[in-house]
């Protein structure tokens, strides 16, 4: 997927009032910064002369900032947001007067205390006392001012006992404290804070933030803050700007800009997708919060346990698969659906707590372990489980050397018992997005899963099994290249219809598979319940099949990092606006932000006609 970073301005969402009555503190007008990047580094006279003589002295232009215009009023607390390398620090340097803009002007009204980098100009050989004077002098303080405020600095930095120790013996946290104390002892008209709050420990950060807060509240200082920390900007600032690759994307109230940045900032996606997401984010529709059901867990193991715990009754048999390997998870989930048993995940180096507790709760007697040979060991698992829960279970391992073999073992196990019902699914290793999309169908129809060996034609064993199974359809999750049509010809000769799912990207495939499943369900009508699952962390979604089958839900692949996927999800929900009952969000705790969830809810919520 090509990485697309959009840089066009997003307008119309947040507007700042024109406040001509308030004094301007910083006025940045149409500032551009162009760096000449020499094609080669010319660092010596000789190289320069040679290049000049050959007329090869060409430079590549690099626009760090392009036409930035800001008007920061006195008393504003202004946040600058942007991904790494977007030009934030360059802008701060221009405002601090360190850099001269290539084009445009930057006018400052008042004195500036730049906290661009703490401790610039410290000499590690000197003592703290000497450094306080030296650094104060470099920051332009008078001797008397430093003398008068020396005690305050020492007190804030908490270094009184170590004043006459060379700085090189200090911890980096102490150095940062001294630097911050010196820089903020003065009450400037304008304070520039560049990521300084990210150094030091939690206590120090809190102290710094308090100091900045007091400057803002008590002295009406104009503050400029650059931070990656969205929440910090939203907490401290009243206005903010979002800069991307040197372009101003959005200027508005801190709340609006931070919200937009949280959803769009640093995320990839086409321009169209971004516009789609942005318009949903800013649409005035009231989201129906009751549509949102978060299903979060700390780990894929805990997630499997959570999904399993949604069924109340105890289970005699439990299927356990290895969560580190994606195909184990899907095979385990398929077998569990066939057995109508819960499925849990385990690790090859021990049973996670969540898993063993869930086995205990389910009062399982028998465990079927699904995994490849070296790590899938029934005896070891039984011992570990007994050690953890004091319950001795009968553990049966289904294992093989290869995934093809493992899929055969699972297939044969359930075939002997006559458990498979739906069409067989033929897939390859690593086909995760499509497997997740198809898993509700695979579970509800009890479809066997067959995995072909990578880079080889379909094996005899595989063809035999499909023939022996006798279903009249075969679902193929693979491209024409991975599994050519001619190899499937023998199936068709036997009267088996092959249905191939293959699209350019996982989201498109998700759409196609969803539409196909709904078509298969036929009379039951459109699905009213959806599961939003990220394909980025698929381990959380290995076992959603049985859960989806139980609740009748379908899967929507949604990665907040990838705006294309979000746009797809929005398209789906908007097309069914008002006809959706529930969106379950499956993933780690950090996967979906509250905003990501309300945004999808917005798309799905019925619009009040009144």
């Amino acid at each position: 997927m090509p990485e697309v970073v959009n840089t066009t301005p997003l307008s119309g969402f947040s507007t700042l009032p024109d406040e001509p009555e308030r004094e301007t503190a910083i006025s940045v007008k149409n500032v551009s910064m162009i760096f000449n990047m020499a094609n080669e580094q010319l660092n010596s006279l000789k190289e320069y002369a040679i290049a000049l003589a050959r007329k090869e002295l060409r430079f590549k232009e690099f626009r760090a900032l392009d036409g930035i215009t800001l008007d920061i009023k006195k008393g504003d607390v202004f946040g600058i947001l942007g991904t790494n390398g977007s030009g934030k620090s360059t802008l701060l340097k221009i405002i601090a007067g360190v850099l001269e803009p290539t084009k445009g002007t930057c006018a400052i009204h008042g004195n500036i205390a730049p906290l661009i980098e703490l401790g610039a100009g410290f000499d590690m050989e000197l003592t703290a006392r000497e450094n306080i004077y030296l650094n104060g002098a470099l920051l332009g303080y008078s001797k008397k001012f430093i003398q008068d405020n020396f005690d305050d600095i020492v007190e804030f930095a908490e270094i009184k006992p170590f004043l006459d120790m060379p700085l090189k013996n200090y911890s980096s946290g102490m150095v940062a404290r001294i630097a911050f104390a010196i820089a903020t002892v003065i009450v400037p008209d304008i304070l520039i804070v560049d990521e300084v709050l990210s150094v030091g420990d939690f206590m120090f950060q809190k102290k710094c933030e308090e100091r900045i807060q007091s400057l803002i509240k008590e002295h009406n200082v104009t503050v400029l803050i650059v931070s990656h920390n969205n929440d910090q900007i939203e907490r401290l600032c009243n206005k903010a700007v979002w800069i991307e690759k040197g372009h101003m994307r959005m200027l508005g109230t801190a709340h609006d800009v931070c919200q937009t940045y949280r959803v769009l900032g640093g995320h990839t996606g086409s321009k169209k997708a971004e516009e789609r997401v942005f318009s949903t984010l800013t649409s005035p529709v009231q989201p129906d919060e009751s549509l949102i059901k978060p299903l979060e867990a700390d780990s894929p193991y805990a997630m499997a346990a959570r999904l399993s715990s949604s069924r109340e009754e105890p289970a005699d048999t439990v299927v356990v698969a290895f969560g580190e390997y994606e195909m184990d998870g899907f095979l385990g989930a398929g077998l569990a659906s066939a057995l109508d048993a819960p499925v849990l995940l385990t690790k090859s180096d021990g049973i996670p707590d969540a898993t063993s507790q869930e086995i205990k709760r389910l009062k399982a007697q028998r465990i079927i372990l699904v995994g490849k040979t070296p790590y899938c060991d029934a005896g070891k698992f039984a011992d570990a489980l007994q050690a953890a829960t004091e319950v001795r279970c009968d553990v049966q391992a289904l294992s093989a050397d290869t995934y093809e073999g493992l899929s055969f073992a699972v297939f044969d196990y359930a075939l002997q018992r006559g458990l498979w019902q739906g069409p067989a699914i033929l897939t390859h290793i690593g086909c995760m997005g499509d497997m997740i999309s198809l898993s509700p169908y695979a579970s509800e129809r009890r479809c066997p899963l067959l995995i072909k060996s990578p880079g080889k034609p379909l094996s005899e064993g595989l063809l035999e099994r499909i023939a022996a199974y006798g279903n009249d359809r075969l679902l193929v999750l693979d491209s024409e290249e991975g599994c050519p049509d001619e190899q499937l010809a023998p199936m068709r000769e036997r009267g088996i219809e092959t249905v191939r799912f293959c699209e350019d990207d996982a989201y498109r495939a998700n759409e196609v598979i969803r539409a196909w499943i709904e078509g298969e369900r036929g009379a039951e009508g459109l699905t009213r319940s959806f599961i939003a699952a990220p394909s980025w962390q698929p381990a959380y979604s290995y076992t959603i099949g049985p859960y989806a089958a139980r609740t009748g839900a379908l899967v929507v692949l949604d990665d907040p990092q990838d705006l294309d996927s979000v746009a797809h999800a929005i398209d789906l929900f908007e097309s069914r606006r008002g006809r959706i009952d529930l969106i379950t969000f499956v993933g780690s705790r950090t996967q979906f932000s509250p905003l990501d969830k309300t945004m999808l809810a917005k798309a799905a919520s019925a619009i009040d006609e009144e």
Binding site: K93, V98, E130
Partner: protein, 260 residues
């Protein structure tokens, strides 16, 4: 109004410079047993070595030869060390220049003033040698500050130009040490100017260090004050060098941040 601001800025810059000088001073002698005594000892020891070597090999007919040497050497060291220090000053303070809005002129000027302080301390060594050779100072000593003003202006001009050039071409740093060595031999520091062939004399007249060293010796060794013409030559050389250096520095200082 602007005058008041300028005065305040000047005062602030002066405090910054004096803080930096005191930092350099502290760092120079930190953790050495003799400390500042080295500023006196160093020229003395140097003088002993040079006079031992040269009076054995060349036998120049110069009265109070060691005093002749120490006078030339200390003054030349003031120029060579302050220009070398100034040359590195911008590169060395790159971390500061990139982050803090600060008058960049401060850095090379500070290095020159730091060497001036060192020079003043090494004058103690000169005094010791004068006492040893029973050379009594005369009223001409009062002209020493004037000479120092010339030398400091001249050195600052060179230092400013070098510090700016060094930012763009690091070659300057390597080249300068060679130039200084050549200059040491091209200036009559341990030989009398009379040993030079006649055709060399007009060339020597163009060497500012020859004028300054001669001025210094005349003040302390001969106890006389150079004439008005010599003073004007010395002043002219100092002022022109300073003006050119300042111009180069001011023209290029905005681009420093892109190269340091």
């Amino acid at each position: 109004m602007s005058n008041a601001i300028n005065k305040a800025t000047l005062k602030r810059n002066w405090f910054t410079i004096s803080s930096l000088v005191s930092k350099d001073f502290k760092l120079k002698y930190r953790r050495s047993a003799l400390g500042v005594v080295w500023s006196v000892l160093n020229p003395l020891l140097m003088m002993i070595v040079l006079s031992a070597v040269f009076s054995t090999f060349f036998r120049f007919d110069i009265p109070n030869y060691p005093l002749y040497i120490i006078l030339g050497n200390t003054l030349f060291a003031l120029m060579s060390e302050s220009t070398t220090g100034a040359m590195w000053s911008i590169l060395d303070s790159s971390s500061l220049i990139k982050k803090v809005r600060i008058e960049k002129l401060i850095f090379p000027i500070e290095k020159v003033l730091f060497q001036l302080v060192n020079f003043c301390i090494s004058l103690i060594a000169v005094a010791i040698v004068m006492v040893y050779f029973r050379v009594a100072p005369s009223l001409s000593l009062l002209m020493l500050p004037v000479l120092l003003l010339f030398v400091v202006l001249f050195s600052a001009g060179l230092g400013l130009a070098l510090s700016a050039l060094a930012v763009f071409f690091r070659d300057v740093c390597h080249l300068w040490s060679v130039v200084i060595t050549a200059w040491t031999y091209a200036t009559p520091l341990f030989y009398p100017v009379m040993v030079l062939p006649d055709w060399m004399m007009p060339v020597m007249e163009l060497n500012p260090m020859y004028h300054y060293v001669s001025y210094f010796r005349q003040l302390l060794l001969d106890g006389t004050v150079p004439g008005l013409q010599e003073n004007l030559i010395c002043l002219g050389m100092a002022v022109v060098t300073f003006a050119v250096g300042l111009l180069i520095f001011k023209k290029s200082e905005k681009k420093f941040i892109l190269y340091v």
